[in-house]
C-alpha cells in the first residue's frame, strides 16, 4: 500500500541523507568549537604545539561545515 503511494527507495535515501547531514553538521561544528576552545586554552597555558594541532582541527572542521553550506546552496539552486 505505502509503496504505491510513495517511492520507498527514495524515502529510505531521504532518511539516510537527513541523518548523515543533520548529525554530521552538528558533530563537525561541535568539533570546531572544541578545537577552538582547546586552542585558546593551550596557547594561554604555553603549549604552542598542542594548541596548533587543535587550531588545525578547528580549521578543518569549519572548512567542512563551509563545504556543507556550499553544497546546500547548490542543491537549492539545482531545483530550478
Amino acid at each position: 500500500m505505502v509503496a504505491t503511494l510513495i517511492d520507498v527507495n527514495v524515502l529510505w535515501k531521504l532518511v539516510a541523507y537527513s541523518l548523515a547531514g543533520g548529525i554530521g553538521v552538528t558533530l563537525t561544528f561541535s568539533i570546531a568549537i572544541y578545537g577552538a576552545i582547546r586552542f585558546v586554552d593551550l596557547r594561554r597555558d604555553g603549549h604552542p604545539v598542542f594548541a596548533g594541532a587543535f587550531g588545525a582541527l578547528a580549521g578543518v572542521a569549519l572548512a567542512a561545515v563551509a563545504a556543507a553550506v556550499v553544497w546546500a546552496v547548490s542543491i537549492l539552486a539545482e531545483k530550478s
Binding site: 505505502v2 503511494l5 510513495i6 527514495v10 524515502l11 535515501k13 531521504l14 532518511v15 541523507y17 537527513s18 541523518l19 548523515a20 547531514g21 543533520g22 548529525i23 553538521v25 552538528t26 558533530l27 561544528f29 561541535s30 568539533i31 570546531a32 568549537i33 572544541y34 577552538a36 576552545i37 585558546v40 561545515v65 553550506v69 546546500a72 546552496v73 542543491i75 537549492l76 539552486a77 539545482e78 531545483k79 530550478s80
Partner: protein, 367 residues
C-alpha cells in the same frame, strides 16, 4: 470586465495569503535565533525577510507542484482559487492567534481542495497527488526531523558537554547565523512559490495561457517575493514565542541542532523531490533537540496542541474554502460574490488589526 476584476481580486488575495504565510512562518527561521539571543528580534526578522526575498527567485518547482499537481488546472475557476485562498488565510490567522505553528502550505492546499470539491466534486481533485505530495510528507517530516535533532544534540553534548558553557554558547550562536540564514533562504525558495503557483492557476483559469504552457511570469515572481518578505519582516511574534521558548527552554547548542537537523531534512527532501512542510520539519527539530537532552525537557502538552493543529489544518482549511465558495455562489457566478466576500474580509481584518494599532500594539505581536 467582470472576469478581469475577479482576476485582480484573486491576485490581491493571493498576495495577502503570501503576506500571512510570511509572518506565520517567520518563526521557522528566527525563533531559535531569538530564543538563544544569537540575534536581536528585529535584526533576525530583517535578515530572514531579505533571504526569503532572494530565495523566491531560485526555483519554480514548488510553484509547478501547486499549480498543476494538486487540483486539475483545467478545472479550477478563479472563484475556486479565491475561495481556497480565503479559507487558507482564515486558518493561518486562527492558528497565528493561538500561537500554533501550522503549515501554510497545507492551509493553502486544503482551502483550494475544499473549494474545488464544493464546486466540481471529487473529480476536480488530484487524489493521488494529494496523498503523495501532502499527506505522506506530513507524517514523515516531523518524525524524521525529531529523530535527527535528538541524535544530533546528544552527539554535540558528548563532544562539548564538559567544556566551559560561555565559549560553547558563543560558538553555537555563531553557527546559528549560518543555519538560520539557510532556513530563511530555503523558505523563500519553497513558500513564495506556492503563491506564484496559485496566481498562475488563476491566470490559466482566466485564459491568459493554457495548463500545457505552464510558466511563471516575472511580475508574479517579484510580487510574490515582495509579499512574503514583507510578511516575514512583520514577524509573527506569537508563533515565534511558541517555537522559541514554549516547546522547550532552548540553549544555543539545541538551537543549532534543531536548525541543522531541519535544514538537512529540508535539503535532502529538496534533492529527492520530496515536498515537506518547513513548519513541520522545524517544529519536529525543536522537539527533538529537547528530547535528545531529556524527554521531560519537552512540554508535550504544547507539542500535542501543535500536532492537533497540523491534523486539523487540511480539513479545516478545506471546510473554509468550501464555505466561502458556497457564499460567493449565493451572489451568482459573476464578480459580485468574490467582491462582496473580499470587502467583508478586508472589513473584518481592518477591525481586528485596527483595534490592535489603536491599543498601541504592533500588528503581529503577542498579546
Amino acid at each position: 470586465m467582470g472576469k478581469d476584476l475577479i482576476l485582480v481580486i484573486v491576485v490581491a488575495t493571493a498576495l495577502t495569503f503570501d503576506f500571512t504565510n510570511g509572518f506565520h512562518d517567520t518563526a521557522n527561521a528566527v525563533a531559535t535565533l531569538i530564543s538563544t539571543r544569537a540575534l536581536s528580534p528585529r535584526l533576525a526578522v530583517t535578515m530572514s525577510a531579505v533571504l526569503n526575498f532572494v530565495g523566491a527567485f531560485v526555483s519554480i518547482k514548488v510553484a509547478t507542484t501547486v499549480g498543476k499537481g494538486i487540483v486539475e488546472a483545467g478545472s479550477a475557476s478563479t472563484t475556486i482559487v479565491f475561495a481556497g485562498l480565503i479559507g487558507a488565510i482564515a486558518w493561518n490567522l486562527a492558528t497565528w492567534y493561538f500561537g500554533l505553528p501550522s503549515s501554510s502550505s497545507h492551509a493553502l492546499i486544503g482551502g483550494v481542495v475544499g473549494a474545488a470539491l464544493a464546486a466540481e466534486g471529487a473529480g476536480a481533485v488530484n487524489g493521488s497527488g494529494l496523498v503523495e505530495k501532502v499527506l505522506v510528507p506530513s507524517l514523515v517530516a516531523p518524525v524524521l526531523a525529531l529523530v535527527v535533532a535528538a541524535i544530533a544534540i546528544a552527539t554535540a553534548y558528548r563532544v562539548v558537554g564538559r567544556m566551559r558553557p560561555g565559549p560553547v554558547g558563543r560558538g553555537f550562536r555563531l553557527g546559528q547565523l549560518i543555519t538560520g540564514s539557510m532556513q530563511s533562504f530555503a523558505h523563500g525558495t519553497n513558500d513564495a512559490q506556492k503563491t506564484m503557483g496559485i496566481i498562475v492557476l488563476a491566470l490559466i483559469a482566466h485564459g491568459d495561457f493554457t495548463a500545457a504552457d505552464f510558466h511563471v511570469p516575472s511580475w508574479v515572481k517579484i510580487s510574490a517575493a515582495s509579499a512574503i518578505a514583507l510578511g516575514t519582516y512583520a514577524g509573527g511574534w506569537r508563533i515565534i514565542r511558541t517555537m522559541g521558548s514554549r516547546i522547550i527552554k532552548m540553549d544555543a547548542a539545541q538551537g543549532f541542532a534543531a536548525q541543522g537537523a531541519g535544514a538537512s531534512v529540508l535539503l535532502a527532501a529538496a534533492h529527492f523531490g520530496f515536498p515537506l512542510s518547513t513548519t513541520h520539519v522545524i517544529s519536529g527539530g525543536v522537539m527533538g533537540a529537547g528530547a535528545g537532552k531529556r524527554l521531560s525537557a519537552v512540554r508535550w502538552g504544547v507539542a500535542g496542541n501543535i500536532v492537533a493543529a497540523w491534523i486539523l489544518t487540511l480539513p479545516a482549511a478545506a471546510t473554509g474554502g468550501a464555505l466561502i465558495y458556497g457564499l460567493t455562489r449565493i451572489f451568482g457566478t459573476g464578480v459580485t460574490g468574490p467582491l462582496v466576500v473580499s470587502i467583508a474580509a478586508v472589513g473584518v481584518l481592518a477591525v481586528i488589526f485596527g483595534r490592535r494599532l489603536a491599543e498601541g500594539r504592533t500588528l503581529t505581536a503577542e498579546g
